[in-house]
Amino acid sequence: MRRLMQGNEAVFRGALAAGASYYAGYPISPSTEILNVASGWAAEHPEFGFLQAEDEIASANAVIGASLAGAKAFTATSGPGFSLMQEAVGYAQKVGVPSVFVNVQRVGPATGMPTMPGQGDIMQVRYGSTGDYTPLAFYPNSVAEAFSTTVLAFNAAEESRSPVVLLSDTFVGHLNEVVDPEELAAAATVAPRELAPLGRHEFGSPRFFAGVLMYEHGPNAGEPATADADEYLRQYYAAKHRHLEVANRYALYQHGWNVDAQTLVICYGIVSRVAAPLAPDYALFRPIRIHPMLGDELRAIAERYEHIVAIEANDGQYADMAELTLRREVKRVPLLGGRISMEALRAGLDRVLGGGPAEPPIPLAPTEAVERSPLGIG
């Protein structure tokens, strides 16, 4: 039945449709509704595991435990909580734990501006944990897409055996749109769990899941390989290739608006919705798969345009990746401090296309009292 649904709730419903049966989390705006909905669901479905953890470190590690035990498991947080989860994310990458980490972004760093929308975690998702790894991350821009992209994130997690990140933001998370949840659920294709749960493996010897290097096969299987660079190479590249191969199945993006325009605008998440009035005069490239970078796809599209401008609610994080990929200038319109408005966006576009800098003119500090912000410390 069609009904109004919030973006955050859609993430939870999508997770259910993907077969999730465990959630752990710690309250933080603007992701909290996911935790709330999960707790309500768990109260009525005792087979659904739920933990309100003592902190995000516990949530992330609980998700890892639940997944190894056989459940499709996930957590949701915002930038500060995601920072606390980084060690666990790296561990899940190394051990190969299928899991989903939802990051509903707000303005950072640190406690930042808790009620304001931001997109400052693009790089945290890519490089936040220690060591090298190849994360997969997706970023929807509507309630229906939040649902379907969550399903896809779970599938990609199973297929790549890795922690997949679902990005969102204050606005996408709090957006209410009409969707038909049954239809969305029915459209979901669900990847099966292949990793045998703890205690149910079918090999000769019990497994040892370790964040350190162990021989996986051969005569030394199960023994430490912490000083063997060859084994490191074998395992590192096997994981990398597996992740990239799965990512290729989900090379999701939107190329639209006026595709014959001179300027290609890159934006994603809520910014791509706010920017909709640019439709007549600009072409749009909206990556849904944020990581790994959509290299071939963007290269093929970018060729057709004279200018490329990345409009994002951070100081050019995706623009950096795009520039590196395209090896040509990508202009930047940073929408900072939560100001994701059409005025700021147009002013920025006019500025950079007129040859001006990415940095907006900085207003002088007021000499008279301005309207006070609520002291948002969530």
């Binding site: 087979e47 003592e54 590690n61 435990g65 639940a66 035990a69 294709t189 040892f208 964040g211 430490p224």
Partner: protein, 334 residues
């Protein structure tokens, strides 16, 4: 079984002997804990299909890799959230945590406190060697006041953490204290802890000869064991707390109402509520496991249907069984 002769025990089948010798220093106390745990698990007929070992990081953490059980070697300090989630997803499993004092009470201290609060039904074996062994002998949370360590060259100025007090802050938790010298006592304590239905914690004093003992004046491991033998006494059976040099098992005080000095949940008779929500019936663990399997199977079966049929099933227009019949799909294993 308490006093069964060691020789009769088949505990070696619980160890990955092919990986021996272990990485531990000669004279280290960890091996004794592992042996006693293996004996208990053997006695209790526990095997890799019903028992999971979750270990922390540190010398102690390596125990998981030497045991014939499925094991998760977690991040430093994160054993308990991992163990709790495993227990939630697989309530039929017996989940045992093995970790050092630093892992359990310092970096993992917050998880410890909250796992106790939630009465997570897992057993923690804390190898309390009063030192950060693996990193070379720095002060840990249980290092006694005055002890000289690599990081407290003029003696630890702080009071060690009160593990007994922390565990006993919950009326549901079992706290046991033993040492690697008192092996029969240790074995019985481990067994009792595993059998306890709620959170249980075995605080095991053991020697780190290499990175602690020698620095504080013991010539060898044997001297440390002799010190445990002479110093530690069994507490009276009905003891309610253990003194600093006492070993024993403190069973939960079931009569207490809530945590610590918690107040009772219900205060006054509340005005009648119009439509009380039906209280979810208590579901036992097997029921949970069955329901989970059922819902997973249902999901898998749904995948065999066309999108249109899925919508009809989701909307309740047709039952799943009928839809499968209509589509000519076998209901067999998904």
């Amino acid at each position: 079984m308490a006093e069964t002769a060691l020789a009769e025990l088949n505990y070696k089948s619980k160890l990955k002997l092919a990986l021996f010798p272990t990485i531990w220093c000669p004279g280290c106390g960890i091996g004794t804990i592992m042996m006693q745990l293996a004996m208990v698990l053997d006695e209790m007929a526990m095997d890799e299909t019903n028992t999971i070992i979750v270990s922390g990081i540190g010398c102690t953490g390596r125990m998981g890799s030497y045991m014939q059980f499925e094991s998760v070697y977690t991040l430093h300090g994160r054993t308990l959230p991992v163990a709790e989630a495993i227990k939630t997803v697989r309530p039929e499993m017996n989940v045992i945590v093995v970790a050092g004092d630093g892992d359990t009470a310092s970096i993992g201290g917050n998880h410890l406190v909250h796992s106790i609060r939630r009465n997570v039904p897992v057993t923690v074996l804390c190898n309390n060697n009063e030192i950060y062994g693996l990193t070379g002998g720095q002060t840990g949370p249980t290092t006694p006041t005055g002890t000289k360590t690599l990081s407290s060259p003029s003696g630890n100025p702080n009071t060690p953490i009160n593990l007994q007090g922390i565990v006993r802050s919950s009326p549901h938790a079992l706290y046991a204290k033993s040492t690697v010298y008192h092996q029969t006592h240790l074995r019985n304590a481990i067994r009792e802890a595993i059998e306890h239905p709620g959170f249980s914690f075995v605080d095991i004093t053991s020697q780190c000869i290499e990175n602690n003992g020698r620095r504080i004046g013991f010539a060898n491991a044997n001297e440390m064991l002799t010190y445990y033998r002479k110093g530690y006494k069994r507490a009276p059976k009905d003891a309610d707390t253990l003194g600093p040099m006492e070993i024993g098992v403190l069973r939960p005080e079931a009569e207490r109402v809530g945590n610590g000095a918690a107040r009772p949940l219900v205060v006054e008779a509340a005005p009648a509520v119009e439509t009380p929500r039906p209280k979810a019936a208590p579901v036992d663990d097997e029921e949970k496991a069955r329901k989970r399997a059922e819902s997973q199977q249902k999901l898998a079966l749904m995948q065999k249907l066309s999108p249109e049929t899925k919508v009809r099933v989701a909307k309740g227009e047709i039952s799943l069984a009928d839809a499968l019949l209509e589509a000519g799909v076998e209901e067999g294993p998904a």
